[in-house]
């Protein structure tokens, strides 16, 4: 049987590929579930109720600061401004949450602009980075700039140093970049891989996938969250941020399984999630 018919991939082959992908994904989930179980056994307080946990302890994961010089290159003698272009039709919620975290670690000069390719933007999108910093008139007094531009772009785009770095495209990749700046990436390569996998799952299957894919992910999230409070153990991570944001953005948080709902509530209770609440109506 020819593999290609009129330049089209044979449907049987496609089906086979899909099946294999599905098996791989199930294996991943299984592994995550097993890891989760292993954590519940090894960490004594993993089954504690998140709602009763003081926020300061849940935050501890993110308060580390990274060496900006090491990450972003030598101090240029001017504000290091991260420019993010996003379409107002689909606000990048996870990046707003990460912005909140960056503000806890650094002095960040945040500003929101509307590009001329967009005619109007709802007011909650203009105030999504919080009130303007009182010192915003002196740009040099800040460690980082976070410039969000609402623009007619197909995909979220991030520009930092246009001369030495190409633009980063896609919310997932920008989220990874911003998360690195927090200096709280998992050191364990296995956990780091899991985190990466959750980020992909969130954007490819939750945000862009069909209803069946979504349902499958929700099921696996539910089972993962059945064995640990957060997706990667006892501390919230980028995995929680992106998965939660993708579910919240869809507006169907209430029809999710029980563990997922409990976890979503826990996420929304985190201080840095508060900024997206006005955008979820």
């Amino acid at each position: 049987m020819p593999m290609y018919q009129n330049g089209e991939v044979d449907p049987a082959l496609k089906a086979l590929e899909a099946r294999q992908d599905e098996i791989m994904r199930k294996l991943y989930e299984l592994k995550a579930a097993v890891d989760g179980l292993a954590k519940t056994v090894t960490t004594p307080d993993a089954d504690m109720d998140v709602t009763t946990m003081p926020q300061t302890t849940t935050m501890s994961a993110f308060t580390g600061t990274a060496d900006l010089d090491a990450l972003l290159g030598k101090d240029p003698g001017a504000l290091r401004d991260i420019v993010i272009n996003a379409n107002p039709a689909s606000p990048p919620l996870s990046l707003l949450v990460l912005h909140g975290l960056l503000c806890q670690s650094y002095r960040v000069l945040s500003s929101v602009h509307v590009h001329s390719s967009v005619s109007s933007v709802p007011p909650q999108l203009l105030s999504c980075l919080g009130p303007r910093h009182t010192d915003s008139h002196t740009r040099q007094g800040f460690q980082l700039g976070f410039t969000l531009i609402w623009k007619d772009v197909p995909k979220v785009q991030m520009k930092f140093s246009t001369q030495s770095m190409c633009p980063i495209e896609g919310e997932a990749n920008v989220a990874r970049f911003l998360f690195r700046l927090l200096g709280s990436e998992p050191k364990d390569p296995i956990v780091a891989t899991q985190l990466d996998s959750w980020v992909d799952t969130a954007f490819f299957q939750l945000a862009e996938g069909g209803s069946k894919e979504r349902a499958a992910v929700l099921r696996s999230l539910n089972s993962a969250l059945g064995c640990s409070i957060w997706l990667l153990g006892h501390e919230p991570s980028l995995a929680d941020i992106v998965c939660a944001c993708c579910i919240l953005q869809d507006g169907q948080a209430s029809s999710t399984p029980a563990n997922v709902q409990r976890w979503l509530q826990a996420c929304r209770n985190l201080e840095h999630f508060h900024c997206i609440t006005p955008l979820l109506q």
Partner: protein, 532 residues
């Protein structure tokens, strides 16, 4: 045979030959004359027939010069209003003959009114005679005519006209004002995109020819669009500022002393002494602030006696100037100015799209992009950006024009905006009345605004304290006597204030992405041009 005989026969032969030639010549001439006579006879006959059987002779002609002899109650329809809705209606239209093309018993005209044009047709028939068609074909281009015609829908869109769905079937045709047959430039040539002219070897019109014959050049669709848009800039500037509580003031243009030292001012004789033409209304704007007008703007001519022959310098241009008292920080003023600019850009984007597209056809350019609120960068950031791009420059060095351009490109690459503010210039490169930065004496509370990498506005918080102003003037080596009146305005209490001024021509040029400020000045003045 004698020698003479030989000679004689030779001569005879020669004569014979000559006479043969002459004969032929004569014959030819006779033929020509006969043809001419025939032609004349025919013409006469034609004329006779004209006189005899031109049934349409009162349907066309050249009008007597209009001296308001009579007040006709006839309403004229504008070319832009000729749409399929009017199909079947008989209308009167006044327009120019844009082009005419006779073909047998028909004559096609394109009638133009401002940036709109429509096809019209005179054809031999019930309403028009052969003579009328001939008359129509002979009207010189650019003449103004009154036509009575029936609006007809057309099967195929007329691509070459702005009114593509209808044409006019002319019933009456009168010339109101005739143009001379030889035009100094052809309108089609004047709107041809440069690239097309070069590729196809077709004519384009050079700038001096355009400017020498500005009246005709201004009739082109491109010029019509440019100056309509420019009027929009002024209108939006006034409207936005008025809404913000500014009042418009008028300032004198003949002044006694140059505001910024003696350079670059035109001297004019003033009775027994001499005076200067104002370089900027700044002093007067500031005096209005001291007189408690709070927020003022003015629109008027400013003069610069700079002998620079560049694409962006004029010796006289229209300044749009703003001065404003602020409460606590001069950024209040920057925000007011940038918001005004953004409102202008938005107004142009939303209400002048046809004009922008028209200009783009001849001078293609990227649409103007901007951010709201406007991006504000600081001078040190600009220096860092330029240095990272390989430019070597000192901390307190002013930006050179090429560096401004480069910076514009770098900023556009990162922020995708054609408009931004550069704040906190080094004190050393700004005029004496600029307020120094409170934290770093090397810098100042001053700013420039850029469009497509070219400076359009320069402004600052002004020193409003007579004492400090005197010190700053002395530091710059300025003769205090000459600016006494200026310093004295601040002796009786002056509100903190800031401002700036933009050039109307430059803003129009840069918004449209044109390459020469003379294109956006109706009658430009530069070191080499005083007329028209």
């Amino acid at each position: 045979m004698t020698k003479e005989e030989v000679k004689g026969s030779a001569e005879e032969e020669q004569q014979e030959a000559q006479s043969k030639k002459a004969l032929k010549k004569q014959q030819k001439e006779a033929e020509k004359a006969a043809k001419k006579a025939e032609k004349q006879a025919k013409l006469a006959a034609d004329q006779q027939t004209t006189e005899e059987d031109d049934f349409a002779q009162d349907r066309y002609g050249v009008c007597v010069m209009m001296q308001s002899q009579e007040k006709l109650d006839r309403s004229l329809v504008r070319v832009c209003e000729l749409t399929p809705d009017r199909a079947g209606q008989t209308v009167w239209v006044r327009a120019r003959i844009h082009t005419s093309r006779a073909k047998g018993k028909q004559c096609f005209l394109v009638l133009r009114q401002q940036q709109f044009n429509v096809q019209a047709l005179v054809a031999v028939g019930e309403r028009a005679s052969k003579q009328m068609v001939k008359f129509a074909a002979n009207i010189t281009k650019e003449s103004i005519v009154d036509v009575e015609a029936v609006v007809q829908k057309v099967e195929q869109k007329i691509e070459s006209c702005s009114q593509q769905d209808v044409e006019l079937h002319i019933q009456r045709l009168f010339v109101v004002s005739q143009a001379e047959p030889r035009l100094p430039l052809q309108l089609e040539d004047a709107v041809r995109p440069e690239a097309e002219g070069e590729e196809e070897g077709r004519a384009t019109v050079n700038q001096d020819t355009r400017l020498d014959n500005r009246v005709i050049d201004l009739r082109t669709t491109t010029s019509q669009a440019i100056f309509r848009l420019q009027s929009g800039v002024c209108q939006l500037f006034r409207d936005t500022l008025t809404k913000k509580g500014f009042i418009e003031i008028q300032t004198p243009k003949i002044i006694s002393a140059a505001s910024e030292g003696g350079a670059n001012v035109f001297t004019v004789s003033y009775f027994k002494t001499s005076a200067y033409l104002a370089q900027s209304p700044q002093l007067y704007k500031q005096m209005c602030i001291c007189a408690d007008f709070d927020k003022v703007f003015c629109v008027g001519p400013v003069f610069r006696a700079e002998d620079s022959n560049t694409h962006r310098h004029l010796t006289e241009f229209v300044g749009l100037d703003i001065e404003m008292a602020f409460n606590y920080h001069y950024h209040e003023v920057i925000n007011s100015i940038t918001d005004t600019m953004v409102q202008i850009f938005k107004g142009l984007r939303d209400n002048f799209q046809t004009e922008i597209q028209t200009v783009c056809k001849q001078y293609p350019s990227e649409p103007f992009k901007f951010l709201e609120p406007t991006l504000r960068l600081e001078f040190t950031e600009a220096v860092a950006l330029l240095r990272s791009a390989g430019v070597e420059m000192g901390d307190e060095e002013d930006l050179s024009t090429p560096n401004e351009k480069l910076l514009g490109r770098l900023v556009k690459e990162k922020y995708d905006t054609d408009f931004y503010v550069l704040d906190k210039y080094p004190l050393a490169v700004r005029p004496f009345y600029t307020m120094p930065d409170p934290h770093d004496p090397k810098y100042s509370n001053s700013y420039d605004m850029f469009m497509r990498g070219e400076e359009i506005l320069s402004g600052a918080q002004r020193v409003h304290d007579a004492q400090l102003l005197t010190e700053r003037a002395l530091h710059h080596g300025i003769d205090l006597e000459k600016i006494k009146a200026y310093i004295d305005s601040f002796r009786y209490g002056a509100p903190p204030h800031a401002g700036g001024g933009i050039g109307l021509e430059r803003v129009t040029m840069l918004y449209l992405g044109l390459h020469n400020v003379r294109q956006t000045s109706m009658f430009p003045r530069d070191p080499k041009r005083l007329t028209p």
